[in-house]
Amino acid sequence: MLTALNNDLKPFEDLITKFSREELKPHVEVRDRYPFGDLDDDVIEAGFRKIYDLGFLGIMLPEKYAGIGQGISAMCMMLGHVAEVDASYSLIIFTSAMSQQVILNADADEIAEKIYPKAKDAKEYLVAFPSFTDPGESKELPTASFSGKDYTLTGKLDYLVLGSFSKWAVIPARVAGRQGYSFFLADLNGKGVTKSDPIFSLGLHACPIIDISLSSVSARIIGEEGKGERYFETASKIMHAAAAAINAGIMRGSLKEAVEYTKEREQGGRPVINWSEVRMLLANMAIKSKAAELCVTQTCKAIDENLKDWGRTSIASTLHVHDLACEVVTDGVQLLGGNGYMKDYGQEKRYRDARQVMALLGLAPLKKLALIKEIAG
């Protein structure tokens, strides 16, 4: 566990565990019904407000922007504990952090100051971001035009996380006549923005995702033109570890629920856990879960200590954790039998959520190919 590396994080860990247990756990099933249930902006706002008030959202943000100034270890610990209970909230925190990282990597001081210290509420603080997209791989990005004074964005952007909730969004777009892409800050309530209904996706339901269309939407550039890929790559190398932490948390939750259930449920006149094949499945889950913890912990250490090749470590270990997670949550459902497939239990949600998390920051096979290109040239 991350606290083993850094005891300073212990009080913080207690806080986030308490928050997850008391504030998130009672509502997991109801919130998972979004976008068809009664989770509305007020409910989302209330949940976000608590996370925001506790300071979780600014955990990696420098103090000069009213953040806490912690590193990736604290972020991963928080995401893991939240994901153990409801990974949707981890995606909210992840998306907010991804926007922050792009802004910070671009040294966009003015923008950071405009948003974070002055945000009146969660809507203003949480900046939407297409967290499942590697803009470099995207076949279609909005186009940015420069009028001599300001930029305007036109085009479509799909799968924008928090797009229906947040005031601001960090949007990748191509500037006509320039190589690569750039990032822009746009007001999602501004003129020219059309939002789709919330998208019904595989998992992480309580975090809204939408498609947007932009028509001459006024926007501010983040950093420099054509440098978007650099900002994204730097941010994503760190945030891959955060994605791994979410799936490691989901695995912990899955294992815990499987152990509890198999201790209580009987088969053939004795607790299910006493059958050796069940124990074997649980053991495999535990091994994978522990290995995932180790991957996250060591990756965080490599990043925090700026060890050689930390970026490669981050991506490699994350891809491995995602593979493990998909296996663990599948067995997690299996161990509860028919009950594991029902929404009254948490396992089916984890089965969906882990696969949704796997898709964060772009297509996994392309990441593998990029990694080997970096290693082997």
Binding site: K139, Y159, L202, E266, C326, V333, Y341, D344
Partner: protein, 501 residues
């Protein structure tokens, strides 16, 4: 090189070559007309997919999420209009008499469009199989007549198989576990019938079905020896439907709760109990109960294998379409070797799985439940004689106790144990292999499609939700592995015991 007698002695050794290579021996023996019939079933499934299943699959999935109480009964009516609920009922009992193995190919086709819709059709035949393998011809005739009538009137009459209980899932699928499990459905013998009390859960199609094959126990502490099989019709006093589960996938097919409160089931609807067993065999009720379970699951697990391959195909087809339509760095995805290799593997999974369920079907055809219907003379007799002949000449005979006695002897008393083991073992193998292939292909499709596969409107994410249930129902894949070992591998392990560790 070797004398025939020598050859025989070698191939009869364990593992017996014929048992290991059923298609080599049995495919040539198949009546030719079965192939044309199977082609027709597949063609019908493809037409149904074009006109009904594909247009409805995502819409119904969405509707059931918007309103978890919603049950798409109109889908059942559609399937009924298409004649799917009588297609595999033998002509002897008024159905269309398609050969039973053809249902696997049919279900794979429909499953490739929507596993849930395939289940709404296929699980009716689990009910039919359970009813038929109980071998009471009078009851079979009565229930099947209702199904046929339901097709004529447009009011679907479906059959459910009701065994799972709130505290006993896997336990009710193996008599050794049933003997120790926490059973709750009690059948008390009274004058003229049984009084049924208790609940059944996770009953597929429960809310749609008219007839229910219900297992209950005269002595809950000795379930395996006192099992009673009762036919319970919707509307009978003391029988009520509870909720249906809020499932991750296959949402068009309800998993229902059935409640029985002092529900009187008359003798004429008692399909099996220890006294009935005694009337035609000297074997113990426990043995006969296991044999019945094996018969039913040898049929249904091959079917679930077909669902699994349906899911594997659906995932493969979604990934293939995506790879054809998507570019990476300006080149179509399908031009990259890594994409081609993954798609090839997904395709291979589909073909390998199909071989597995085909082997299971061949075992059923020649060594199990279908052996009577698939004997060439009987097959052609049933196929070509007009329906009126069965109605006028054969049907009245089915009400006679002698008909039940003969069928019971044929299916239960005269089946060789080694045939029982082979059919149940191969059905288990097909079930867990095909459903594992299904989930594996879904996973591969999602990895290939990334965020585009996560959207419900892409179709891919629904398949991975649907596919997971296949690894659980009809016996968890773990139970099916144990059953394969117990049935086919164990002869080489004289020290092995089961469900006793």
């Amino acid at each position: 090189m070797l004398k025939r007698s020598k050859v025989r002695s070698y191939i009869e050794r364990f593992p017996r070559f014929e048992d290991e290579s059923l298609s080599l021996y049995y495919a040539p023996r198949m009546p030719k007309a079965m192939i044309r019939e199977t082609e027709e079933a597949v063609a019908l499934a493809r037409k149904f997919n074009d006109e009904v299943a594909r247009p409805l699959a995502l819409e119904l999935d969405r509707k059931t999420h918007e309103n978890p109480d919603y049950l798409p009964a109109e889908l059942v009516k559609k399937a009924n209009e298409w004649g799917f609920y009588t297609m595999w009922i033998p002509k002897l009992f008024g159905g269309k008499g398609f050969n039973m193995p053809s249902i696997s190919y049919f279900l794979e086709e429909v499953g490739s469009a929507c596993v849930g819709i395939a289940n709404v059709i296929g699980v009716h035949y689990l009910g039919m199989a359970a009813c038929m393998m109980l071998s009471n011809t009078r009851i079979i005739k009565k229930v099947m007549s209702d199904v046929v009538e339901g097709e004529k009137t447009g009011e679907p009459c479906l059959i459910s198989y009701c065994i799972t209980e709130p505290t006993a899932g896997t336990d009710v699928e193996e008599v050794d576990l049933e003997a120790k499990g926490r059973l709750g459905c009690h059948a008390r013998k009274v004058a003229g019938g049984y009084i049924l009390n208790g609940s059944k859960i996770f009953i597929s199609n429960g809310h749609y079905s008219t007839w229910n094959v219900v297992y209950a126990y005269a002595d809950l502490k000795r379930g395996a020896d006192t099992k009673v099989a009762l036919m319970v019709k919707r509307g009978m006093k003391g029988f009520s439907l509870g909720t249906h589960e809020n499932k991750m996938g296959q949402r068009v097919c309800p998993a229902s709760v059935l409640n029985f409160e002092d529900c009187f089931v008359p003798d004429e609807l008692v399909a099996m109990d220890p006294d009935i067993i005694k009337s035609f065999t000297k074997r113990s009720p426990r043995d006969v109960n296991m044999q019945h379970i094996d018969y039913v699951f040898s049929i249904s697990r091959a079917g679930v294998g077909a669902f699994g391959i349906g899911a594997a195909r659906g995932a493969f087809e979604a990934a293939l379409k995506y790879a054809n339509e998507t570019e990476i760095d300006g080149k179509p995805m399908v031009t990259y070797e890594w994409v081609q290799c993954r798609l090839a593997e997904m395709y291979a999974n589909v073909r390998l799985g199909r071989l597995a369920y085909t082997e299971a079907n061949l075992a059923n055809q020649h060594r199990g439940a279908y052996n009577l219907l698939q004997m060439k003379p009987i097959y052609y007799y049933l196929r070509y004689l007009p329906g009126s002949y069965f109605k006028k000449i054969i049907a009245p005979l089915l009400d006679k106790p002698i008909a039940t006695w003969i069928l019971s002897k044929w299916y239960i008393d005269w089946q060789k144990p080694k045939d029982q083991h082979l059919t149940t073992g191969l059905a288990s193998m097909a079930k867990f292999s095909c459903t594992d292939f299904g989930v594996r292909n879904c996973q591969m499709a999602l990895e290939l499609m990334g965020k585009d596969g996560l959207r419900q409107d892409s179709g891919a994410e629904k398949i991975i939700r649907d596919a997971k249930l296949l690894q659980i129902y009809e016996g968890t894949n773990q139970l099916n592995r144990i059953n394969l070992f117990k049935s086919i591998v164990a002869p080489t392990c004289p020290k092995a015991t089961f469900f006793e560790e």
